[in-house]
Every structure is written in structure tokens, then in C-alpha cells.
């Protein structure tokens, strides 16, 4: 009986390892899709380095807004944003155009990208939870 224990331990450790690895793989893949979309749709305003432009377009790199409002990102990306918005203590007030034709998985890739590029750190967001967030946009 006792002899099984180490085997069981090794198997479960192996499974656990595989799982985290699969999750990391998913995240990496999503982030790289996100980069491609970012280069098409966002880079002209927020910049390759994510620093924005003057006080016209807010930074995404090191943005406290992204850190504190992870659930609102999907809506901003798909439907845009208007009116005053504060990022890192600076008030921005230009319209950001939406991208209403984006599919839920594309929105998810973009969210994963901006949450993990330029030194930003975020959890992997799955498509399901993006779809759920998109139900609640104003």
C-alpha cells in the first residue's frame, strides 16, 4: 500500500505541472495574437511603447486605470470611450473610437496583451469572462 504514495505524488505533480504549463501557453498565445491586433488598431494613438501621446492619448504602460478596472477594458476596446478619464493623475478628454466588429476572442487577446505588455502584469483572461463583461457594457 505504502509503495503507491510516491507514485501518486509524482503523477499528481506531473498533472499539475502540465496544467500550469498549458495555461501559460494559452496566455502566451493570446498575448501574441493581441500584439498583432494592437499593431493594427491601437498603436497609432497609444504607441508601440504604450506611452500614449502628450496628454491627448493616455498611456497603457503602467496605467493605474488598467490595473484598477480590469473588467471595463473589454467594453472600452469594443465600444470606445468618451468624456474625461483620469490615468496616473492626468485628466484625458478625447474620444477613443470603438471597434464594434471585433469578435469576443479578439477582444480577449487585446485585453491579455495590454495587461501583460511593457512590464504590465495581469492574470490570463479567458474568452468566457470577456463575453460576460461585454454583456454589461453601457
Amino acid at each position: 500500500m505504502k509503495g503507491y504514495r510516491p507514485v501518486l505524488f509524482i503523477i499528481s505533480a506531473f498533472i499539475l505541472f502540465q496544467c500550469t504549463d498549458a495555461k501559460k501557453l494559452k496566455k502566451d498565445r493570446s498575448v501574441s495574437h493581441g500584439l498583432a491586433l494592437y499593431t493594427q488598431l491601437c498603436v497609432q494613438c497609444h504607441g508601440e511603447d504604450g506611452k500614449g501621446l502628450g496628454t491627448l492619448y493616455p498611456p497603457l504602460a503602467g496605467s493605474d486605470y488598467i490595473r484598477e478596472n480590469p473588467d471595463s477594458l473589454a467594453c472600452i476596446i469594443k465600444y470606445g470611450k468618451d468624456g474625461p478619464l483620469e490615468v496616473n493623475g492626468v485628466l484625458y478628454n478625447q474620444p477613443m473610437p470603438g471597434n464594434p466588429l471585433l469578435l469576443d476572442d479578439e477582444v480577449a487577446h487585446l485585453v491579455n496583451y495590454i495587461q501583460n505588455a511593457w512590464g504590465n502584469k495581469g492574470e490570463y483572461i479567458a474568452i468566457d469572462s470577456i463575453s460576460a463583461s461585454l454583456q454589461n457594457c453601457r
Binding site: 501621446l53 502628450g54 491627448l56 478625447q94 473610437p97
Partner: protein, 209 residues
């Protein structure tokens, strides 16, 4: 023996050609339709107009005459190419903004939205502090006319385009005599590098007179 002599001659010739062409800096072409009179060529020049800058002051072609200047057409809410054009124009402004007899005129093709106040805030948010970069607004029809017939670039209202307008992303280089000397893609860093080289060439041209 004869062969080497021949090659040496050729090499010398090539070297000479190279030296001569290096010593002769390139002269920028004059763009647009020309009228050739008996002894003279008349070049296309920027026609007169009247617009307002971000401080509400009237700007006309008389303010541009005597300056080497760069113009682009844009609008503040343009989602597609304008932000990149402005990033690139910031580079031009950084390099030449404090040079005498140099100017930048960014002309809005959405003047109904881009009022003097909107342009003022836009320029401040962009971080433009010097006077040599001006943002202009005015009557829509005269602005579209100025773009098409004056600066010879496309600009029009189009409800299917992003933001509602189509327009060229060109930076237009104009000399002190209001003649167009070059068009550069304002969305491409390498083309804007070229523009900055050509501004320097144009400055030399006037120094040489």
C-alpha cells in the same frame, strides 16, 4: 598590362564622377503646373486665403511668405492616420521649431468641430509650446479648396471613411516663395527623415543666394 591601365582609367573616371556628384548638392524640384513664358517659367504658388490659428489670430498666405514651411491636413478626432502624423510632425518641430523663418501649419478639415478653442486645447495636449507650429481652422469650403487647388492634395467629406473625412497623409514642403518643393508620407518615419534632410537643403539654397 594594357588591361590594368584601362581599368585604372575607368576607376579614376568613376571616382571623379562620384566626387563631382557629391560636391553638387541635390536641388529640390518645384512641384505643380508651370507656365512657360518667353523667357521665364512661372511656377505654381500657394494662393491667398484667410484662416484663424489656435489663438484666434488671422493667418493668411502673407504670414507664410518668407518662411520655409511644412503643411498637413488633419482633424483632431481623426482615428486613423492623424495621430501618427502628429507624432512625426513633433519630430520635425523638435528639430526645426526654433529655427528662424521656419513654420508648420496643420490645417483642420473638420472646422465645424475643430474650433479655435478645440485647436488650442489640442495643441497644448500635444505638447506644442513654440509659436512656429500653428493649427488653423476656418470655412470648410475654402479649406477643402485650399487643399485641392492650393496644396494639390486630396481632402473631402466622406461618410464611409473613419471619422467622416478622407484626406492625404502628406507633409507638404513649401519654400519662401510659396512654391511647393516636396511631398512626404507623414505616416512613415523614413519619409519624414527625408523631409528633414530636404528642409536643410532648402535652407542652404536660400543661404546661397
Amino acid at each position: 598590362m594594357r588591361h590594368t591601365l584601362k581599368y585604372n582609367g575607368l576607376a579614376l573616371f568613376l571616382l571623379l564622377a562620384l566626387v563631382i556628384s557629391c560636391g553638387n548638392p541635390k536641388k529640390l524640384p518645384v512641384m505643380g503646373p508651370k507656365t512657360v513664358l518667353e523667357s521665364d517659367t512661372l511656377y505654381h504658388t500657394i494662393p491667398d486665403f484667410e484662416l484663424k490659428n489656435q489663438d484666434g489670430q488671422i493667418v493668411s498666405v502673407g504670414d507664410m511668405k518668407g518662411k520655409i514651411f511644412v503643411t498637413d491636413f488633419f482633424f483632431t478626432t481623426c482615428p486613423s492616420i492623424c495621430p501618427i502624423m502628429k507624432t512625426q510632425m513633433l519630430r520635425v518641430n523638435e528639430k526645426f521649431g526654433s529655427v528662424q523663418d521656419f513654420g508648420i501649419y496643420s490645417i483642420s478639415i473638420d472646422p465645424r468641430h475643430d474650433t479655435v478653442e478645440v485647436l488650442k486645447e489640442y495643441s497644448e495636449r500635444l505638447g506644442v509650446e513654440n509659436e512656429s507650429w500653428q493649427f488653423l481652422t476656418g470655412d470648410l469650403d475654402s479649406i477643402l479648396d485650399l487643399a485641392q487647388k492650393g496644396f494639390l492634395v486630396s481632402a473631402a467629406e466622406d461618410s464611409t471613411a473613419p471619422g467622416g473625412y478622407i484626406h492625404s497623409g502628406a507633409f507638404i514642403l513649401v519654400d519662401k516663395d510659396l512654391r511647393i518643393r516636396g511631398y512626404y508620407d507623414g505616416t512613415k518615419e523614413s519619409k519624414v527623415d527625408e523631409l528633414m534632410k530636404d528642409i536643410a537643403i532648402l535652407q542652404k539654397e536660400y543661404e546661397g543666394v
